[in-house]
Subunit: 453 residues, 2 copies
């Protein structure tokens, strides 16, 4: 792996040493010389991962030579630093070099005032387009799309389309499809560039175009957009407004980021952290993690309350205190297994109304089966340890009961939440552990107070 | 959402009703008529999510009309059903309609014997190419790439390249880039199709091509490949062998699946399940989840053993039994937060050697800070509940200590494991909960037996 990193990620230890040397000597020319061959993504990586002092030195050294393409790759707080160090006018002058979706990416997280100031400093035409894009809700197709695209009327020939493309200077740097529209500018078909290239000039585009295409409503959620791209293996798709007119295009490179973001969100939320956690400063991180832990402290005290109801039972038989954590701990893990599978299945649409009920039954069945197996193992181990058969039977029965709770809750909570606007990944695991803990203690200690005293 | 599903996922309740009707009446023609307009991905979805009986009826009804494009989208066990129902020869005759990477996708999971039989039933030329692909390690670039691609020598003109493309029938259906090679067939540059289309016929390809491109070694791990595509926003990339000769091309649609798979793997492994869990039958699922639960039962008994060492202490002060679960529970959650962030950061390369040390310190600092905050809250709540100040102080001190353990272990275990071949996502959470549980009980009960008796 280190070899591959050297080849591809360019930020080798030697490179870093040379760069630090140049920065320490204030050798601006050498810094620019070193950084020049880096891909924008690598330079951004370097800026994102540097210590603040190094970063300031680097941005200052690059200043006028900073590649605008770097901006969309920067983390939010790094972007703000760059804006501060370069000044608004210089920063604004970099933006028209980017495609519209990348500009949106850069300015969307800025404070409103700052954003408006930046927009004022940009050419009027760019500004109008950007303001319109910012008008679309965050995380919608409208924010994801770019305005630059290639469009031909349906009665044109391949030759006419190619001539238009050769003439036009305001096209995206690269594009993968040409959109064919009717007189009302509604898309009627899509033509991949490779098919255009292969055809004779005389052929009409509407004979050649693919009529099976996926028009994306401008207000569609980006998660839904990503689903479509992934499911149908799309490379680009037209975006339409309420009147079904073509307003932009979404390309797969933007969607790759969304897929990653959405998976990231699920992972982070299941782990009880915000998706912005990694890139945040210490105090921010602390503030973001606190509420989740506080809620969990609440459920932990709830479990303690359940235990306290049985303190006389425990006083009679201290072995109960020794064993009582096993049932909730194991069932918490079993429930998390179910929860993870269901949350992820819902997110990737592997679970839909077609099969949700069947999957829920499967989960509950698996829970019962595992419950029986682990009831036997735990029961025998406990009975042997304390030479107390009834203690083993009690923990076994509690285990089966709590396994059923874990499987049912783990499957039904996320399926239920998916029909609401609550994110199943966040809420489910708190609810699950609250249930498996309190019910686990209650079952074991309750059964014990009935059968063992 | 229901509206969008209707438009895009085509499998509406009305459609399903009509299909069931046709299947129940054995009306093969009507079934084919209903299914015909479906995109291959939707038909596959239908097959994957149907009950086994429905699926068999559907496959039988489609039989000769089954669209080969459906095959790569099918889950493993559904593929096997199709193979069984259609028979080997019919199944083999479908495969040459697919691109080579899709064929690999279909046959890679079959049992070796079955796979060889299928290969024997295919045309010799296809077979040779496929056997070579299967030779590459699973999850490598070689498995991901397709062989069909457009290549031009470096001294050609745009016109020559376009003429070749127009002549050649054995090209991929769609392609996004043309690879320029030297006389030894080593790639020297990449030319996007849109740039080719825009240029004059007389221009030489090597003047036009992009010399910054990313040649992917054929044995590179697919996770690494996905990283590259994601980082540099690639749409296609050339694959080279040990002699640096061009052997294939990887396109972004294949990589989208990998990105999804890899994120899926992390989510599943953190939740203690296999990435194949969702699509497995009940018994398989049970078998896959068992080992993880068994390991967790082991760590739960380990905690019980720690508690049992303090059973006389608990006997003296039953409040300890009531409160003792709080410390491990809360610190387990805090550790999971850290773990999730670090595991994911490592997977997405947001954490590299450049910043790993700094991030570990940040995590430990956050743990200490949160530890102090929650020590105060928990300490005061416990002291008030049981009117016992020293009990509150004891649980507070145990809390701080165990928070430090959680932060340190949560950050260092995955960073340490990432340098080995063990998947940090699987092993870390067992190790973490084993540590926070045993140390949590030990600290609280140990301190209590010193200070409270």
């Amino acid at each position: 792996m280190p070899d591959q990193q050297e080849i591809y990620f360019q930020l080798t230890p030697e490179f870093m040493d040379a760069l630090h040397d140049a920065l320490n000597h204030g050798d601006q020319e050498q810094v620019q010389h070193l950084v020049e061959p880096l891909h924008a993504a690598d330079l951004a990586d370097l800026l994102n991962k540097s210590k603040e002092l190094d970063r300031v030195a680097l941005i200052t050294a690059l200043s006028s030579a900073l590649d605008p393409e770097v901006l969309p790759y920067l983390e939010e707080h790094v972007q703000e630093e760059v804006l501060e160090l370069l000044g608004r006018d210089r920063f604004a002058s970099l933006l028209p070099n980017l495609e519209s979706d990348d500009v949106i990416d850069v300015i969307k997280d800025l404070e409103e005032e700052e954003r408006n100031d930046l927009l004022q400093a940009m050419p009027a035409r760019d500004r109008a387009i950007l303001e319109q894009s910012l008008h679309y809700p965050e995380d919608s197709a409208g924010r994801l799309m770019q305005r630059e695209m290639v469009v031909t009327p349906e009665h044109w020939t391949v030759g006419q389309a190619i001539d238009l493309i050769r003439l036009n200077v305001d096209l995206p740097k690269d594009f993968y499809a040409v959109f064919v529209v009717d007189p009302k500018y509604r898309p009627v078909g899509v033509l991949t560039v490779s098919r255009l290239l292969r055809s004779q000039r005389e052929v009409f585009v509407n004979e050649l175009m693919d009529k099976q295409y996926w028009p994306i409503p401008v207000d569609m959620d980006q998660e839904e957009v990503a689903s479509l791209f992934r499911k149908y293996g799309l490379v680009s798709a037209p975006v339409i407004n309420q009147d079904e007119r073509l307003v932009g295009v979404i390309t797969v490179d933007d969607v790759v980021d969304v897929i990653n973001e959405e998976a990231e969100e699920d992972i982070m939320h299941l782990g009880g952290v915000s998706e912005k956690d990694t890139s945040s400063a210490v105090f921010e991180t602390l503030k973001m993690r606190f509420p989740w832990l506080l809620v969990n402290l609440g459920t932990a005290f709830l479990s303690s309350f359940v235990i306290s109801c049985f303190s006389t039972t425990i006083d009679h038989l201290v072995e109960l205190a020794v064993l009582m954590s096993i049932v909730p701990a194991l069932c918490g893990n079993a429930g998390t297994q179910t929860l993870t599978v269901v949350v992820r299945g819902l997110a990737t649409k592997e679970i839909t109304e077609l099969n949700a009920r069947r999957l829920a039954f499967k989960e509950i069945f698996v829970a019962i089966a595992n419950g029986i197996i682990f009831a036997v193992i735990t029961g025998i181990a406990s009975a042997l340890w304390f030479q107390h058969i009834n203690l083993g039977i009690t923990i076994g029965i509690a285990m089966i009961g709590n396994f059923v709770v874990a499987g049912t809750v783990g499957a039904l909570i996320p399926i239920g939440l998916s029909k609401t606007s609550v994110d199943p990944a966040i809420a489910s695991s708190v609810l699950l552990s609250a249930m498996t803990d309190t019910i686990g203690f209650f079952l074991f200690l309750g059964l014990a107070s009935i059968f063992l005293l």
